[in-house]
């Protein structure tokens, strides 16, 4: 297993090289003036365009610009992100913990509810619970995330005053920046507990409820559908009929036999969903004013913030490789027939 994992990890630098070459090549197909636009935001600065191009070497040949960038990356410097207003490494360290927090808060209910609903839906095919489950899936798929987000915000913040947007309130802000609070991980839920601040923990949790709920509802749909179809396939197989014929209780048949075999596609989708969440969720972060990585990278892409986009591309590529690796490991754990070959 260790050999398999090391082999997969050894592929990572090649994947990253490919991704960066592709992205850098795409960016370089744009004119230097377009790439300089990140530094020229106002018509008052138009006259300085040539000087900006010269200063940042935007007119240099592709290989020169790429080797300059990769040289900096190898020395640990990912450059400065104009959209994040800080070095890329700092930006990743600043935004990523918030994204992890939101992703985990959404991913737990996505997995629990998604697998449960998918299973129940398959077991009770064409019964009312199946219809409910399909209704949830269809609306989750089709409802635009900004509509759902604003609806939740209007009801639970505007009407009921329960779950505000942002990451924490002004009261927590005073504690967090009061001087006696250590940001150990950058994740407010974890740091508040480590700092013995249950009030901040509850406050941060309140702020996470709506974005997590919104993400859960929208993202869960795919998992429900996959679990349902995978379970239906397994439940129709001979070994399930045999298990039932020999008198095994239904919950054992479903939960132990069928579901275990239905896990493979679910794991594949779950790993992709989790990595997607970690890559950032633009609309949800925008609606709920949540400072995650999605909002940053979207701005970086639109404004041609090349160091920002390249930094996040390196991060997400790494996450995808690791996510696939984790999925492969999970396959073997749930199905011993699969070996690391």
């Amino acid at each position: 297993m260790a050999k398999f994992i090391l082999k997969r990890l050894a592929m990572l630098p090649l994947v990253l090289l490919g991704v960066t070459l592709l992205l850098f090549g795409l960016f370089n197909s744009l004119s230097p003036e377009m790439r300089a636009s990140i530094y020229v935001k106002d018509p008052r600065q138009l006259a300085a365009l040539d000087e900006v191009i010269r200063k940042y070497g935007l007119n240099d040949p592709f290989h020169k610009q790429y080797s300059r960038w990769i040289g900096e990356v190898l020395s640990g410097n990912l450059g400065y992100s104009e959209t994040a207003k800080m070095p890329v490494t700092e930006a990743i360290a600043a935004f990523f913990p918030a994204t992890i927090e939101l992703s985990v808060m959404a991913f737990i209910p996505i997995m629990v509810l998604g697998v449960w609903l998918g299973t129940v839906s398959a077991v009770h095919r064409d019964k009312w619970i199946d219809h409910v489950s399909r209704f949830i899936s269809i609306t989750g798929y089709s409802l635009p995330s900004f509509v759902l987000g604003l609806l939740l915000l209007m009801v639970f913040y505007g009407m009921l005053g329960l779950f505000p947007p942002g990451r924490y309130s002004l009261a927590s802000d005073l504690i967090i920046y009061g001087g006696n609070y250590q940001p150990y991980t950058g994740m407010v839920l974890v740091d508040s507990l480590l700092n013995g601040q249950p009030g901040v923990f509850v406050d941060a949790l309140r702020h996470l409820v709506l974005p997590a709920a919104s993400l859960t509802y929208i993202t869960m749909a795919l998992l429900v559908r996959i679990t349902r179809s995978s379970m239906l396939e397994e439940l129709g197989k001979d070994y399930v009929r045999t298990a039932r014929a020999k008198g095994l209780p239904e919950n054992i048949v479903v939960n132990v036999h069928a579901r275990r075999n239905a896990w493979i596609p679910v794991i594949t989708i779950a790993s992709i969903l989790f990595v997607q969440l970690l890559g950032g969720v633009l609309i949800t972060e925008t609606v709920f004013a949540y400072p995650g990585i999605g909002r940053w990278v979207a701005q970086a892409a639109v404004q041609l913030d090349i160091p920002g986009v390249m930094g996040v591309a390196l991060l997400t590529s790494t996450l995808f490789v690791l996510g696939n690796l984790a999925a492969d490991v999970c396959y073997a754990l749930v199905d011993p027939r699969i070996r690391f070959q």
Binding site: M34, K41, D42, L46, E51, M154, G158, V287
Partner: protein, 603 residues
């Protein structure tokens, strides 16, 4: 089972209708907001929260050239002089004890030497008192910093006569250092400023730019130490190279508590030793929230004291309990404006079609014919734009000088919306070939800018209605591409605007009318008389003569029609009624959404 499915389908339909209804029902949404607003009292009476859409770029006064950064800088630093209340013409003393004038003897007869008596007892946030050396250093650093695309030339040019501190190959010029250091000197308790030519707006520039910083603190935080040996190292530096980027040691009423780049939030804390006495507010949070509905809900819930909102959003903010809209606040800007390019770059340019006047494109000199420009000028419904897009707010712009600014001529002729006249001009254009063959080109606007999109489509509809052979494609283009194409003169027409650096007609005349100005350079427009007048008016000290020059320049703008000026715009401010002490001054950065926080309080 089929019966169950029918019932279930009906229930599903009702739920969907209910959800959509909850989203779309304005009454229930409004009720929710009213309930929230009515039930909420100021949650944090000492803390002011402003929620906007942009964030700070840099807190270095010599770097920042955007309104959001400038708005923070204005509250943490002091200037030599500042604007009095809501006036853009009257100045009052700050770090300088007096506003120099010939009456008080602090401005020389020839208008070239300004003497600033430096106030004593003004404390920096991190210790120490302001000295004349600090003041001189502040001005010198502002000019010698000179980052590409930055604000340094605002002072550098009128003071030294140089537009840049670098040669064409980007190397710092010794001449720049010599001239700057000779222009700003210390004489006992005074700082003496000698300018290149008489330039009356210099005090207005000093009221908004080059705030006072500590020389000692600067040197200790990677900034220039004031010596000749080191100035080149600090010329056009990287954004984060110097401590001023995200730290400060100013003398203003507020100190920087933190600039949280992650949440796009700037937090200011009151400076209790402020020389004019402490501010009423203890803290101020300036947050960035992109989504308007979220900002509105924060305002309704009392989590925000004021928010950014434009006119298209105004109906959604009216009648919110506890919220007031301060409307019809005049701006000093010229935005939007529609530019004609006199010599279009047609090579490899899909925006000009065939590149010929054959009905399938336009030639490079399409807009060089004045009848084409006059035709377009007569085919735009200025009043209709103001009525429909700006909800009737603002007035028709007469020319490039905004209403309310010195030099504005209310009687200046402007082309009315007259389709018949437009037709007559088009018939005369290009010797009648244009009318016979027709034309086709692309009118682009920067993506996401709704008013500019409407302008493009209004022009398209009006011009195409005159002759079926006239075709205009309208197209949104990303800002980066827009910049690229307009800079290469590849957009036959483009729509942009201008916000002032200081309230003086020169700050509009140069970018709109001088051949080296920001826009004529892209338009490839040159009028020798206009060039001479712009330069002469800048230094003219006789106000009547100066006014006459600007009147003539506006006549030239009417005669040549290089640009269409659309609107003298107004804005509105949205705030909770418990916010007191707000004074509008259009020259404040990001006004009316933000203001000097010193005067604000919450009740």
């Amino acid at each position: 089972m089929p019966r169950f499915k029918t019932i279930f389908s009906l229930i599903s339909l009702l739920v969907v209708i209910g959800l959509v209804g909850a989203c779309g029902d304005k009454n229930s949404a409004a009720k929710a907001e009213k309930k929230a607003a009515a039930a909420t009292k100021s949650k944090n009476p000492d803390t002011y929260v402003h929620v906007t859409i942009s964030d700070v770029d840099s807190l270095d006064p010599a770097w920042s050239y955007d309104t959001q950064s400038h708005m923070i800088i204005e509250n943490i630093y002091d200037y030599l002089v500042t604007y009095k209340g809501g006036s853009v013409n009257d100045l009052e003393a700050r770090i300088s004890n007096k506003v120099p004038s010939q009456e008080n003897g602090l401005l020389s007869e020839d208008g070239l030497t300004y003497t600033f008596p430096i106030r004593k007892g003004v404390k920096f946030h991190k210790g120490g008192e302001v000295t004349p050396n600090d003041v001189a250093y502040s001005l010198q650093r502002f000019m010698l910093f000179d980052r590409a695309g930055g604000p340094s030339s605002l002072l550098l040019e009128p003071i030294t006569g140089l537009t840049t501190t670098r040669s064409k190959d980007g190397k710092p010029l010794d001449e720049a250092y010599t001239k700057v250091m000779a222009a700003v000197t210390v004489d006992g308790d005074y700082v003496v400023l000698k300018i290149h030519k008489p330039f009356s707006p210099i005090l207005s520039i000093l009221a908004s730019w080059a705030p006072i910083i500590s020389k000692e603190w600067a040197a200790a935080h990677n900034a220039w130490d004031g010596t000749k040996e080191n100035w080149k190292k600090h010329n056009n530096p990287d954004k984060t190279a110097e401590g001023f980027h995200d730290q400060e040691n100013g003398t203003g009423p507020f100190m920087l508590d933190r600039w949280d780049k992650k949440t796009k939030e700037t937090v200011l804390a009151r400076f209790d030793d402020y020389w004019r006495g402490p501010a009423k507010l203890k803290r101020a949070h300036i947050k960035s929230v992109d989504e308007f509905q979220t900002r509105k809900l924060m305002l309704a819930a009392g989590d925000a004291d004021s928010i950014y909102a434009d006119y298209l959003q105004q109906p959604l903010l009216k009648n919110l309990p506890g919220v007031e809209l301060i409307d019809d606040l005049p701006r000093i800007d010229m935005n939007p404006a529609i530019f004609f390019v006199f010599k279009i770059e047609t090579k490899g340019n899909p925006n000009v079609g065939s590149g010929k006047l054959d009905g399938k494109g336009i030639p490079a000199n399409f807009f060089a014919d004045i009848n084409v420009r006059k035709g377009f000028a007569s085919a735009f419904d200025y009043e209709g734009f103001i009525k429909d897009v700006n909800r009737g707010k603002g007035t028709r712009a007469q020319s490039f000088i905004p209403k309310g600014l010195f030099g504005y001529n209310a009687d200046q002729a402007a082309y009315p919306y007259d389709i018949d006249a437009a037709e007559a001009f088009f018939k005369k254009a290009h010797g009648g070939v244009l009318w016979k063959k027709g034309f086709k080109f692309t009118l682009a606007y920067n993506a996401g800018n709704q008013p500019r999109e409407v302008i493009a489509n209004m022009i398209k509809r009006a011009v195409e209605s005159i002759n079926p052979k006239f075709q205009i494609d309208t197209r949104p283009i990303q800002w980066s591409t827009y910049l690229d194409l307009s800079n290469k003169s590849k957009l036959p027409m483009f729509i942009l605007g201008w916000a002032p650096d200081y309230p003086d007609p020169h700050n509009f005349a140069f970018p709109y009318m001088h051949s080296d100005g920001n826009y004529p350079r892209l338009q490839r427009y040159k009028n020798a008389e206009a060039d001479k007048l712009v330069t002469a008016a800048m230094t003219e000290r006789d106000l009547e003569k100066r006014k006459a020059m600007y009147f003539r320049l506006q006549e030239i703008a009417y005669e040549d029609v290089p640009t269409l000026f659309v609107l003298n715009s107004v804005l509105y401010r949205t705030q909770r009624t418990w916010v007191k002490g707000y004074t509008y001054n259009p020259i404040h950065p990001d006004a009316p959404y933000s203001c000097p926080l010193y005067y604000l309080s919450k009740e």
